[in-house]
């Protein structure tokens, strides 16, 4: 780094690239060339910084100045002001919503203050397409040590002591998993990286592969050495072109540098990695389904046992770990299990990456120590609820997680606490809802996803989820009964109790948790035929408050079905039988004369 005076880091994650961060990169290159600064200033595209709400992100190092929502047209100003004159471009700095002051150093931003980036340590820091940058940050050091110590069982012991648990959702202790795979005999064992990130809204695995692919490669090679496998496979969804591209570049570089292939670092150990593409089925994140998919069979789970560690890919002992789990491993080996296990709660060690989304101010990818509370995440890191609305619920764990409420805000988040609260860790999706969200509609929304994504193998999941969805539809349409509410509970519990794999065993969570936590809202839909949040269209009624209506005719003119009548400067009224509840009148009325009942 010393060679350059400044480094300009541009977020090259999928999100920021969609907002033209590529163009920003080009623009910087052009300007630097024009100004003959290319010898002093290096421009790097990094992985995701996580603060997607304010992307595209540009960071100037070593000042650690964090510019948000940068446009290609801002590049000149950044060069002229910051680089040449040494003055920050204030208008591009993050503004603290409370103090209204600009924050220069990202360390002082609310979004980053409570974060601890372990798995994401290199994302937004190094150029993922340059192995040297990874090497400069302790890259492949863990592998070198492991190969030198020649004690595979010691690696497994370290992982067991570290307390690392699978980050893909199940939370199974990683060290134990490796131990099973190591103990089982096979002609050709396999190491599989599960990069089939299927939770809508979750993108930590993609970000890691886009921002730090070598860490995954390094961990897989270590995994191979520890369990006695020479073949690794990355199962990645084909919808992740950038991650695939960067992974391929990294694989080539690792091979070239001797971290992959035959006789790795002169140790005599051989290991190769191949890529397998998934077609985007949610259930293929389940390890047995993933293995069947890789084998060219229908992507559907099978009963365990046998576990993949006994009989996995091609019937051979196979260890499957998720991307985020792998990203933790080189650090654990470098810094020691004592360091890792000092972070987190009693049974959940280390950190967890969450994809924070929904009605929070700071949407993005965050990493916090296990045990951080929902309140800290939503109100400190997330910056609170958008537009000053009331917090209502947070859904964790992806589409089959549960919805947690106010009363759970101070629960330290770990695997066990989330499960006990009726939700789950999942792969770390976290969607925040506010007072405008109808919890019945939310439950229906998630069910729609699981109905589509069920593999169809077992009857409770295949048919049961459809029936749950239909009952919710009925309730949202104002045709629900109290018996339907009983049936939701009974059916939800049966599906959880009787389904074959994790998908069906968790898919009713959104329904069951919202019934438990928002019972009154369900009752309002069923008994009063009202949607308190005003979301369910069939239960909505737009009415004009005569006292407030000035007769401006705006509502009538904007009504697509012409169901609003009234003379100019006279009170208007809505013909309810014709109203399609599109809400155009409500949005257009400047006098708050239209209300939702």
């Amino acid at each position: 780094m010393a060679k350059y005076k400044y480094h300009i880091l541009i977020c090259g994650g999928t999100g920021c690239r969609a907002s033209e961060s590529d163009q920003i990169h080009k623009q910087f290159d052009i300007i630097l060339e024009e100004k003959s600064l290319e010898e002093d200033i290096q421009v790097i595209q990094t992985g995701c910084f996580g603060f997607c709400e304010k992307g595209p992100i540009v960071k100037i190092m070593p000042d650690n100045t964090f510019y948000t929502q940068v446009k290609p047209s801002d590049c000149l100003e950044i060069i002229e002001e910051h680089i040449i004159k040494g003055r920050s471009v204030n208008r591009l700095l993050y503004e603290d919503p409370e103090t209204k002051k600009h924050v220069e150093d990202s360390k002082h931003m609310g979004f980053y203050k409570k974060q601890l980036r372990v798995a994401l340590r290199n994302c937004g820091f190094i150029n993922p397409e340059d192995i040297n940058e990874y090497l400069a940050n302790d890259g492949y050091l863990a592998l070198a040590n492991v190969l030198e110590q020649k004690n595979p069982m010691a690696v497994i012991e370290t992982l067991k002591k570290s307390g690392l648990r699978g980050r893909g959702g199940g939370g199974f202790p990683t060290g134990l998993k490796w131990e099973f795979a190591a103990k089982n005999k096979g002609d050709q064992k396999y190491v599989v990286c599960n990069a089939d990130e299927g939770d809508p809204g979750a993108f930590m695995d993609r970000s890691i592969l886009e921002g730090d692919p070598h860490t995954v490669i390094e961990a897989m090679v270590i995994n191979g050495y520890a369990i006695g496998s020479t073949m690794g496979l990355v199962y990645i969804r084909a919808e992740y072109p950038l991650a695939i591209q960067r992974l391929k570049i990294a694989l080539d570089q690792a091979l070239e540098y001797g971290f992959l292939g035959d006789d790795i670092l002169g140790s005599g150990f051989n290991f190769n990695i191949d890529i397998r593409y998934g077609a985007g089925a949610f259930v293929c994140g389940e390890e047995t389904a993933l293995i069947h998919s890789m084998e060219g069979n229908r992507g559907e789970p099978t009963f365990k046992p046998p576990f993949p560690a006994e009989s996995g890919y091609k019937g051979q002992p196979t260890n499957v770990n998720n991307v985020e789990t792998y990203a933790n491993i080189p650090v654990i080996l470098n810094k020691g299990w004592e360091w890792f296990s000092s972070i987190g709660t009693e049974k959940s060690k280390g950190t967890k990456v969450f994809a924070l989304a929904g009605k929070v101010n700071n949407v993005g990818l965050i990493e916090v120590p296990m045990g951080t509370t929902l309140r800290e995440i939503i109100f400190e890191i997330g910056g609170g609820i958008k537009d000053g609305k009331e917090f209502k619920a947070v859904q964790t764990g992806g589409p089959s997680g549960g919805c947690l409420t106010q009363k759970h805000l101070d629960t330290p988040i770990d695997y066990d606490n989330l499960l006990a609260s009726g939700s789950m860790m999942g792969s770390g999706g976290m969607i925040v809802m506010d007072e405008d969200d109808c919890m019945v509609a939310i439950a229906k929304f998630y069910l729609e996803f699981t109905v589509e994504e069920s593999c169809g193998k077992c009857s409770p999941c295949r048919i049961g989820n459809m029936r749950l969805f239909e009952i919710l539809e009925k309730i949202c349409a104002g045709n629900g009964t109290r018996e339907d509410l009983d049936q939701l509970r009974n059916l939800g519990n049966v599906i959880k109790d009787a389904s074959l794999c994790g998908l069906g065993q968790t898919s009713p969570n959104p329904v069951l948790s919202t019934i438990d936590n928002f019972w009154d809202e369900y009752v309002a839909h069923v008994d009063d035929k009202k949607c308190p949040a005003g979301v369910c269209r069939d239960l909505k009624r737009y009415e004009i408050v005569p006292e407030a209506c000035v007769g401006c005719t705006v509502c009538a003119r904007n009504c697509p079905v012409n169901c609003i009548e009234g003379e100019r400067k006279q009170v208007h009224f809505i013909q309810q039988d014709l109203c399609i509840k599109c809400g155009a009148c409500y949005d257009k009325c400047k006098f708050n004369a239209i209300i939702i009942k």
Binding site: A281, R298, E300, T302, F303, P305, V451, E452, E453, S454, C455, G456, K457, C458, S459, P460, R462, I463, G464, N465, M466, R467, E470, Q487, N490, L491, V494, K496, D497, A498, S499, L500, Q505
Partner: protein, 592 residues
């Protein structure tokens, strides 16, 4: 054998390690209900995807319920098979399955014989609490098999039979979520698939999703037509299974009652496919000897081993999968088609009528026979040699429809001249039978010595692949036998690789042979049923006064009067066929 201790329904039991909860319960008198599970132990057929979730039980300390069919017993387990939680879950799961199943039980072909219906009855389901959409698909009518997959419950038994056991690969689960169903690739019609019409999918389908094409009403009409002479032939395996449809124990031979019933149904002549089986042996046995002698004489153009060709599903299988080997199977037609060809030549001549005035009906344990009879090469001027082929099940339906009190019928005989048969013709009905029948004749013809021991016990059994060396008076003849197309594939791969040691191979598509054909009464997963039929076939053989095909006097007369000699010109024309490359039959029509 390691024993472990556990508790099921408050009963302390000891069980062999590795036993599933389902089997442990059964051994202790507890019948846990199952739906997708199927095991035909003696045939090594197992289906346990753990998909229906009907067999779930409660295991103390376990978070969710355990499927009994796949969960192995562990020491100290405390299992409850009928707790409130279990009963409620099981019932709800059944109600869910029923909620996506058509309610047309009264007119379903499986009415009264449906495992789902039986279960609903057993559970006392009186209403379905779930109203919602039902998945619907197009109905598929092939010459042999009807697929009404609206009724599919995704038990995957047919898929297992078709893919794993038969290695045909015509059926597999398609779509996802609620729309998941077992169908063909790209949801094409079965006729455009690699389906062999073996009908093993039908044999294992618990519901009415897979049934045979029903030709009973066509047969009734033909019988009623005064301008037609309607004759019927019955395959050997039918008599060993038909009784089951009328309450007889499996394995009860009902040959005489069957002949009587057919006569009550007013067929004009009651004949026997066994007669044609004897004829097949004359032709196929001589073909074997011909190839063998030429081979021994050093003729390098001779293809060995010779493969039997009486199973139409097997024929279609190699036409799809091994078309380059079309010269290897015997060219002899199957007994059904030999019968048809002789009926519409030899017999119509005897009666002095035209072939158009005759209707030939066959009663077969098979659904592929329907397809076989419709193959264009088995017709003259579009008039098929065999007009209609009914399954054993359809015959039973016909008997019931016609108010015939089957159980109180007297034993009657077949008619002459196409009704007499030897024991060799009878054993065509089971795996190993055709080749044993061929050996009985070929031995005596080749060695010109009488056979001392008629029973070739070394060729019998239910192992999927068997082999034996028969001593033809100093000449060792290597015989291979496969039943089930997956087993056949293994032997064919050997032949293809030039590694086969066999001179002759018998292949039957269905596990067990015709006794367990796709047209037989349903075994509902009980392999004892199949074994009982198997024993019955050999019992019928043992009871026959004549047991070698070349001793059948009516066949001897047929050659004297009509055919000349085996493999002769007339015999060749009427009794032999040829095979096609069917790889190009598979057309994926995505437009539909």
């Amino acid at each position: 054998m390691e024993l472990i201790k556990l508790t099921i329904d408050n009963k302390a039991i000891e069980i062999e390690k590795g036993t599933t909860i389902l089997k442990a319960a059964k051994q202790n008198g507890i019948n846990i209900p199952t739906l997708c599970y199927l095991e035909l132990k003696d045939l090594k057929i197992v289906n346990k995807p753990g998909g229906c979730r009907i067999c779930v039980v409660e295991v103390e300390g376990r978070r969710n319920l355990a499927p009994a069919c796949v969960t192995e017993c562990q020491p100290g387990m405390v299992i409850h098979t009928h707790s409130v939680r279990v009963i409620n879950t099981r019932r709800t799961v059944l109600e869910l399955i029923l909620s996506d199943h058509p309610f047309d039980c009264l007119i379903c072909p499986k009415n009264g014989n449906c495992e789902l219906q039986t279960m609903a009855q057993k559970f006392g389901v009186r209403e379905i609490p779930f109203q919602g959409v039902q998945s619907t698909y197009r109905k598929d009518f092939s010459p042999s098999i009807i697929r009404d997959i609206d009724k599919c419950i995704m038990c995957r038994r047919c898929e297992m039979m078709c893919n794993e056991f038969q290695t045909v690969g015509a059926l597999s689960a398609i779509n996802r979520g609620f729309e998941s169903v077992v169908s063909t690739a790209f949801d094409q019609l079965l006729e455009k698939s690699v389906c062999t019409y073996c009908g093993q999918c039908i044999a294992v389908c618990p519901v009415g999703a897979l049934t045979e094409a029903d030709h009973t009403s066509k047969v009734i009409r033909a019988i009623a037509d005064p301008t037609k002479t309607v004759i019927v032939q019955t395959a050997p395996a039918v008599r060993a299974a038909l009784g089951e449809e009328f309450g007889y124990a499996p394995g009860t031979l009902v040959t005489g009652k069957m002949a009587a019933a057919l006569r009550r149904l007013e067929f004009d002549y009651i004949f026997d496919t066994d007669w044609a089986a004897d004829l097949t042996i004359w032709e196929e046995g001589h073909e074997l000897l011909d190839r063998l002698s030429r081979h021994l004489a050093g003729d390098k153009t001779v293809k060995l081993p010779i493969l039997t060709s009486c199973c139409p599903a097997w024929v279609k299988f190699f036409e799809h999968q091994f078309p380059e080997m079309h010269e290897i199977p015997s060219t002899a037609k199957s007994p059904q088609q030999m019968f048809g060809a002789m009926a519409k030549s030899y017999f119509v001549e005897k009666l002095g009528i035209t072939r158009e005035e005759m209707v030939v009906v066959s009663i077969m344990p098979c659904v592929a026979k329907k397809y076989e009879s419709s193959r264009p090469e088995f017709a003259v001027n579009d008039n098929p040699d065999v007009d209609f082929s009914l399954t054993t099940r359809e015959l039973a339906a016909l008997i019931r429809q016609s108010n015939i009190d089957f159980n109180n019928l007297p034993d009657e005989d077949f008619d002459s001249p196409m009704g007499s048969s030897t024991g060799a013709g009878v054993i065509f009905g089971t795996t190993g039978g055709v080749i044993e029948a061929a050996c009985r004749t070929a031995y005596e013809v080749f060695t010109k010595k009488p056979l001392e021991k008629i029973d070739f016990k070394e060729l019998r059994g239910l192992d999927g692949i068997r082999s034996a060396t028969i001593d033809f008076d100093g000449l060792p003849i290597n015989i291979g036998i496969a039943h089930g197309l997956g087993n056949a594939r293994k032997l064919l791969e050997e032949v293809k690789a030039g590694k086969s040691k066999f001179h002759a191979i018998e292949i039957m598509a269905c596990p067990g042979g015709c006794i367990n054909g796709g047209g037989q009464p349903l075994h509902h997963g009980d392999s004892e049923v199949i074994k009982a039929r198997w024993r019955a076939i050999y019992e019928e053989d043992a009871n026959k006064p004549l047991r070698k095909s070349h001793e059948n006097p009516d066949i001897i007369k047929l050659y004297e009067e009509y055919l000349g000699k085996p493999l002769g010109e007339k015999a060749h024309h009427l009794l032999h066929t040829h095979y096609f490359d069917r790889r190009t039959d598979i057309v994926i029509d995505l437009e539909k």
